[in-house]
């Protein structure tokens, strides 16, 4: 189900297929659909970041509302979980009309780790937050990560060498958003390489397509 939804998002980002509707892949009232949205995070709404917002009161809104209600961050939730949830909330605010009901408020997510994590740990966390690499989302996080660009690039190198395509694609997507990626990294070829090597993995492909569509990097 996650793979199908990820493929649907990637297809929409490439401008192929029918106009995007999240509710075509993930239906309301389905607990698994909520779980899938939790995994995809803000990416569930990524196609709406392009141009066409969802219509008011649509099924997409209901499906997202259900997911947000099903998985609110617990008090002891990790920073990654909170950021991921926050990403979906931010995306809902930005890309869904909201109708009569207000969306949940944007939760505070800790970011002290951005400055203090050793680079391998930082890279792992950031790759888990790949869905936040969308225009307008998590701007403060993007600003803070800019100072760790070289470390994220090192994480990309390590991930590709370990053939951890999902981590590599997530990091590559964030690097595509950051302004000063070291040229010797070869980010564009790297994203293309990861896409070819991942054997068609839907989530990896989604990250690479997002990097290309939103930030013009990779192929």
């Amino acid at each position: 189900m996650i793979a199908d939804a990820a493929s649907g998002v990637a297809l929409a980002l490439r401008g192929e297929g029918d106009p995007y509707a999240l509710s075509r892949f993930l239906r309301q009232g389905d607990a698994l659909a909520s779980a899938a949205i939790r995994v995809l995070g803000a990416d569930a709404l990524a196609p709406y970041a392009l141009d066409h917002r969802a219509g008011p009161g649509g099924e997409d809104e209901t499906v997202v509302r259900e997911a947000l209600a099903a998985f609110p961050p617990k008090p002891d939730a990790s920073d990654v979980s909170v950021w991921s949830y926050r990403g979906l909330v931010e995306a809902s605010h930005a890309f869904l009309p909201g109708g009569a009901n207000q969306w949940p408020p944007t939760p505070q997510a800790g970011s002290a780790w951005v400055a203090t994590d050793p680079w391998p740990k930082l890279a792992h966390r950031v790759s888990q937050l790949a869905a936040l690499a969308l225009p307008g989302l998590a701007s403060s996080l993007a600003d803070e990560l800019t100072a760790r660009t070289d470390d994220l690039a090192r994480g990309f190198v390590r991930a590709v060498r370990r053939r951890d395509w999902l981590q590599a694609a997530g990091l590559g997507r964030w690097l595509a958003r950051l302004p000063e990626v070291p040229p010797t990294l070869g980010l564009d070829s790297g994203l293309g390489f990861v896409r070819q090597m991942c054997g068609g993995d839907a989530r990896v492909t989604l990250h690479v397509v997002a990097a290309q569509r939103f930030y013009g990097r990779g192929w």
Binding site: R154, V157, R158, R162, P182, L185, G186, F193
Partner: protein, 328 residues
Amino acid sequence: MVTGGRGDPELLDRLVGDSLGWLDGARASFRLPPNVTTDADPNLTLKPLGELAELTQLIAAAHPRADIRERAAGLFDFAWRETGEGELFAELVRGEPHATYPVEIYGAFAQAGRRHAGVEELVRATTRLRSWRVARDDHTRTLGVLNAERRIGLAPHTDFDAELAQTGLGRLPEPWALDRKAAYGVTHDVFHLTEWGRARRRLSPEHAGYLRLWLPAWLENWLAEQLWDLVGELLAVTACLPAAPYDPVAWQRLADAQAADGSVAEIGDPTRPDDPAEAFTACYHSTLVTAFAGTLARVASDEAAAGVWDGAGAMLTGCIPCESETAP
């Protein structure tokens, strides 16, 4: 977290000292057999002895501690004696006049002033041939040959910089595309370029910047694979950078891989094969590399303590003892 300042001299000196202790005890295994110039496997005879000479000479010249220098110098002298004070190379060149390895190994002795007039007369004849200048498959190896020519005082058979530009360092390849063989290539590009850390300023700012960016990622990969000789080589390359960074975690992991007897296996945990010959083959290279890398890191650490570098990686004061500005 990588620190840009001082290393841990105590840990580094223990690593180097214990490695040299094991190497000293392994002299019998470095000894050349009577059939060395005929049917012995050079990978088990000349290669280990050549490495012993190359790396102990550097340690004997560069290490700040006299006891360590003395021990390394003893091993270097032993290696020279094993070659019959150079006579071996005359035999090797007469046997294989077009092979590069006798010239490369002799170069390690020649640069330290251990010379043999007969060998030099021979190699002047063999290296002036057009055939010596035919391009070799491996550009990194060609840098090694060029370095040997320079050490012996022969004319370079091709242009060093042009050759460097073709290598895994010169091309600045995508850092994520580096496989194991390419990694050994990059480390040796640096060793040949910098005269094994003696002339670190030959590393261009562009190459130094590339290495400074990507070495931490490569180290992390090969630490995970416990490939200790490559870990040691990458740490040695790190120590060749201006204002060299010091990675305490990587050094501690290398120290943990050193067995109580001072040996470091090429791969895996510190358990050793029971057979002494197998144990020697499994350990001599990594143990030498550990002593070499620890020496370069110690020199870099002393420089950091003495404030030799400014914040931008430029050298503020004069040369360190082993730095040489001779052109390649």
